[in-house]
């Protein structure tokens, strides 16, 4: 499954089946991002489906 991460402006491919595992796989801290699936914010328990459009948005203040 493909995931876009805005802070790095990169797309990653992940094997994980839910958000929590996906963040672990990408070595991202759950407190520094929010995850948007098909335009909606989801929590860590969300189970990923094959057609999902996934975006990870950084919550870091820009400076």
């Amino acid at each position: 499954m493909k995931v876009y991460y805005d802070r790095e402006n990169k797309e990653y491919t992940v094997k994980a089946k839910n958000i929590q595992d996906m963040l672990k796989e990408l070595k991202l801290n759950k407190n520094s991002v929010i995850v948007v699936v098909n335009g909606m914010v989801v929590t860590e328990e969300y189970a990923l489906k094959t057609k999902d459009k996934i975006k990870i948005l950084s919550v870091v203040s820009g400076g």
Binding site: N31, I34, M40, S61, G62, G63
Partner: protein
């Protein structure tokens, strides 16, 4: 599912409670209103300038204050933006901020380093710590322009993460005196030299603010200062987030235990009287203020 209604959750609190979009909005706004009420951040007939950077935090503060006080003719709201001259970053924040303020009919004042100091931040950072130069000059401009705008208070987007980081940074650098100037409201009432700072998002985490700002359509694209990643603050942020992941509630604990010792810290710091800078006559704890010291180091005329 949301703890209160049969809808998909958008946020999980560190207590484990899950909230859907509507319940999350309610939770968020209630908590901000409570901070404003408990710490008396806004009072009758206040004139407030919101320091806006164009990022999620400051625009969320502006949006919330606007929504709370738009029907209240006794409270005036203005926006104040500092353009440091950081290519690929601040210049891209300006147009969306103008649009945001225009839609809400909030007057916006933009002050640039270029005009005030005749240089862009980008031009002077080589071989220096960008954030030290940037922060000192920005604070100074925010204070002087807030006075020019004749407001009583300056609201900023500082959040729980920022505050926890600053508390830890001041500890690590043995700069505890600086912590006396933290808290949801800082400064002295009706002092001619200072405009009080208020932080309505004091108890909200970065993640909560981002969730709110995204769902409200306040922010669209990610934008980060090119100097941010190398900063000391960023290292402290990562450390605290790692702790928070292992021990949920850590950031809250840092800030709430800090709030308990803050009155004692403030008492101790009060002893030092406010002086005025020999050069620019702005308030300062030293003979020469930090802004003038930085400008002197940069060997540039004021």
């Amino acid at each position: 599912m949301c703890n209160n209604c049969p809808k998909n959750p958008v946020y999980k609190l560190h207590s484990g409670e899950q909230l859907c979009q509507n319940c999350f909005f309610k939770y968020f706004e209630k908590k901000v209103r409570k901070t404003i009420r408990v710490y008396k951040l806004v009072e009758k007939k206040d004139e407030i300038a919101v320091a806006v950077s164009g990022g999620k935090d400051s625009l969320t503060v502006l949006d919330i204050l606007y929504n709370i006080y738009k029907e209240n003719k006794k409270i005036t709201l203005k926006a104040l933006m500092i353009d440091e001259g950081i290519k690929g970053y601040r210049n891209e924040c300006i147009a969306p901020t103008k649009k945001f303020c225009k839609e809400r009919k909030i007057p916006l004042e933009i002050v640039s380093y270029k005009k005030e100091f005749s240089f862009d931040l980008d031009q002077v950072v080589k071989g220096r710590k960008p954030c030290s130069v940037c922060g000192v000059l920005r604070r100074s401009l925010l204070n002087s322009y807030a006075k020019k705008l004749q407001v009583k208070k300056l609201a900023t987007g500082h959040n729980l993460d920022d505050e926890a980081q600053t508390i830890i940074m001041n500890q690590f650098r043995k700069n505890i005196g600086a912590s006396a100037r933290l808290g949801p409201m800082t400064g002295i009432e009706d002092h001619e030299a200072f405009v009080r700072r208020i932080k309505p998002l004091y108890f909200m985490s970065e993640k909560e603010i981002m969730t709110y700002a995204f769902l409200k359509g306040i922010v669209r694209e990610f934008n980060e200062c090119p100097y941010n990643k190398e900063s000391y603050r960023n290292q402290v942020r990562e450390m605290l987030n790692n702790f928070e992941e292992l021990y949920p509630g850590t950031k809250h604990s840092i800030v709430s235990s800090f709030m308990e010792i803050l009155p004692a810290l403030q008492k101790q710091e009060k002893k030092g009287k406010i002086k005025y800078c020999m050069k620019c006559k702005e308030p300062s704890s030293q003979d020469v203020c930090q802004k003038c010291a930085v400008l002197e180091q940069l060997k540039l005329p004021q």
